[in-house]
């Protein structure tokens, strides 16, 4: 078992550069999630680790070995694809054993490893079936089984749950978490779903346009984002951002019709800023500054979509029995110590 180290990794397609020098260390046995909007380069980065995309510049290490120029099969990685990528003409058993067979392992060893993987993933009943006779969840389990059988140092998951329905996705998410605990191998997991990222990761890497925005443990990113992008990406529903301006006595926010007392404001007086408030940190109170445009009741919680006097939209989480209705005129209260301040121009956090 071993970790992964990326050193100033760059990817170009002709003149177009898509990955702009990524430095990243993933520890042995860590579950690392690459997350970001589509087109941010997270899948490309994963495929570069796998060796399916050539690395233009920089170095990739797995353990102590430099694997930058190695073939995918020599890197000690196994990959799970979004579309499962099972070989349709082989049975589940043959699918899982294919990698070992190609590398000339003896029959008995292949059988033993396939049996072990099938036990872990509860696939014993399906070993003789072809992929076409399996459900989506079963297919993805086979695909994971194929990865396990090869006994890789690093598991690579490329949006493995995106093709499953919502219920199965939750189930498989738990399964993957359990698998990580059981096998303890290093895993890199790509997703655009921040819920998957938050629930599975030891370490989240937030990517945007081929650059790392922030790296950290899930709750650290949630509580202490470095910039507006990470703050907006982590957390569901997303953080509310309102335009404001720093002054000596605090941040003047027209969208809240108040001046928010914040310590950082004084030394940045005159700066245009965005103030960030999470939906779960604000409460609806009596007042007439905001209008409820829409409410979504999910049962335990509701989300109220408020329109500020400036026209900005704010989402507020509501719990309990008293909840607002569409068309209500309400006020807003929140804990100023939990609000975050971002520079309007650079989008960096002002701490």
């Amino acid at each position: 078992m071993s970790g992964v180290k990326l050193n100033n990794v760059i990817k170009r397609y002709g003149a177009t550069q898509v990955i702009h020098g990524i430095d990243l260390g993933i520890d042995d046995g860590e579950f690392c999630v690459f997350v970001g909007p589509s087109g941010c380069g997270k899948s490309t980065l994963l495929r570069m680790v796998a060796g399916l995309e050539e690395t233009t510049e920089g170095q990739i290490n797995i353990g102590a070995r430099d694997v930058t120029r190695l073939d995918p099969s020599d890197r000690g990685v196994a990959m799970v694809f979004q579309t499962y990528a099972l070989y349709p003409h082989m049975t589940v058993e043959q699918n899982m054993g294919f990698g070992l067979k190609m590398n000339g392992h003896p029959r008995s060893e292949i059988d033993a490893k396939v049996a072990e993987a099938s036990r872990i993933l509860k696939l014993d009943d399906y070993l003789k079936r072809k992929p076409a006779a399996l459900s989506g969840g079963q297919r993805q389990r086979v695909s994971i089984g194929r990865a396990i059988v090869r006994g890789p140092e690093v598991f690579l998951f490329d949006e493995p749950l995106s093709n499953l329905d919502a219920e199965l996705r939750v189930e498989m998410r738990v399964e993957i978490a359990r698998l990580h605990k059981e096998i303890g191998a290093t895993m890199i997991y790509v997703t655009h779903d921040q819920v998957e990222a938050m629930t599975l990761a030891d370490k989240i890497v937030v990517l945007r346009a081929g650059r790392i925005e922030q790296v950290g443990a899930p709750m650290d990113l949630y509580r202490d984002p470095d910039n507006k992008f990470v703050a907006g990406f982590i957390g569901s529903p997303a953080m509310n951002f309102l335009n404001g301006k720093c002054a000596a006595e605090g941040v003047d926010v027209p969208g809240l019709a108040m001046t928010v007392p914040m310590g950082q404001a004084a030394q940045n007086a005159g700066t245009e800023v965005s103030i960030g408030i999470r939906p779960e940190h604000a409460q609806i109170v009596d007042g007439d500054t905001h209008v409820v445009e829409l409410t979504e009741a999910l049962g335990g919680v509701s989300y109220a979509y408020l329109k500020a006097p400036t026209g900005e939209k704010i989402i507020v989480e509501e719990r309990g029995d008293e909840r607002s209705k569409t068309g209500d005129r309400v006020g807003l209260r929140f804990d100023a110590s939990r609000a975050m301040l971002f520079d309007a121009a650079s989008e960096m956090r002002i701490r």
Partner: protein, 333 residues
């Protein structure tokens, strides 16, 4: 009258008659036979709808019956009669006579050889060309060139290849490419290639392989592109080398298409006539069944034996045709 004008009139009359037939027959059905009114309106509509498909099928069924089904029946009948006895029924005498002719066995043996070699090489080369041209920048140009013989008629191709195999007297400039190369490298006298038994059959087969490879390539290339890229990538990560990926991942996934291509070419081969007719006319032990049939039917005017050999061709084609249609349907699903 000007022929173009005649043609135009024919088209107008023909198409008009078709439209007129469909319109009038439906009108008669709906207005007079089963009118959608009166006490039995509901029942009439249902009955009219049951009959309607047959109205549409009728012209096609008639044409197929007249030009396909009837000739088959007539051929069976003719194969059991004798012309010299004024068309009297002679049982299986024609078949017996045919079995006794060495030329028939030669044709059958050659046909079997064609049957094995041509589909195998056409499909093989087609698959190879499809795989190799898929990733090339100039692959599409290569594909067009390989596909082009498909546009040439069999007779045209036969003429081209007859020139390739052509021989001029020793000492003169060889215009046949094969002899030109042969003479240059061996220094021997040029050969009349098409008169050398066994090899001349192979040389004829090359013509058909040359034509059919393009067909195989186009179909198989489309099938190869239909293979999900991820299965190939998964195999790469699994450590398969390019040969293993091709034979263990790609080929099995397009097996259905390969079978369809193979059987389609097999049927073409069983009917092969033009190439042999134009190049050797079955001489020097290159006879095939279709040319044998033509010889008997139209040269010897022996419709009995000619029809009997036609029946043999049909019996050979039939099982392959059934299998081909079965596989093609499976592919479509």
């Amino acid at each position: 009258m000007h022929p173009a004008l005649l043609g135009l009139i024919t088209i107008i009359v023909g198409v008009g008659a078709c439209i007129g037939y469909f319109w009038a027959s439906n009108q008669i059905l709906d207005k007079f036979i089963f009118p959608a009114k009166g006490p039995n309106a509901g029942r009439n509509i249902n009955r009219a709808n049951m009959i309607r498909p047959w109205l549409f099928l009728f012209p096609a069924l008639t044409a197929l019956g007249l030009y396909l089904a009837y000739p088959v029946v007539e051929t069976v009948r003719l194969s059991l009669t004798d012309r010299d006895q004024g068309g009297a029924f002679v049982g299986l005498a024609n078949y017996q006579q045919m079995m006794g002719e060495p030329k028939f066995w030669e044709a059958l043996r050659n046909n079997m050889l064609w049957l094995i070699i041509v589909p195998a090489f056409s499909t093989g080369f087609g698959l190879l060309a499809a795989q190799l041209t898929d990733r090339l920048k100039w692959g599409n140009i290569a594909k067009s060139l390989i596909f082009m013989p498909m546009a040439i008629s069999f007779v045209g191709a036969a003429v081209i290849w007859k020139l390739v195999y052509d021989a001029r007297p020793p000492g003169t400039e060889q215009i046949g490419v094969l002899n030109a190369i042969y003479v240059y490298f061996s220094g021997n006298d040029p050969q009349q290639w098409l008169t050398i038994p066994f090899w001349n059959s192979i040389l004829l087969m090359i013509v058909l392989i040359w034509i059919q490879t393009g067909f195989a390539m186009v179909i198989l290339s489309a099938a190869l592109r239909g293979i999900p890229e991820e299965t190939v990538e998964a195999a790469i990560v699994d450590g398969a080398n390019p040969f293993q990926i091709f034979f263990k991942i790609k080929v099995p996934q397009i097996m259905g298409t390969i079978v369809v291509v193979w059987t389609t070419i097999t049927i073409v081969v069983l009917k092969v006539f033009d190439i042999v007719f134009a190049m050797t006319n079955g001489q020097w032990e290159t006879q095939v069944l279709a040319n044998y049939m033509y010889d008997k039917l139209f040269r010897a005017n022996d419709w009995g034996v000619g029809s009997a050999s036609a029946m043999v061709i049909m019996l050979l084609v039939l099982p392959i045709l059934v299998w081909n249609v079965h596989n093609a349907r499976k592919e479509m699903r």
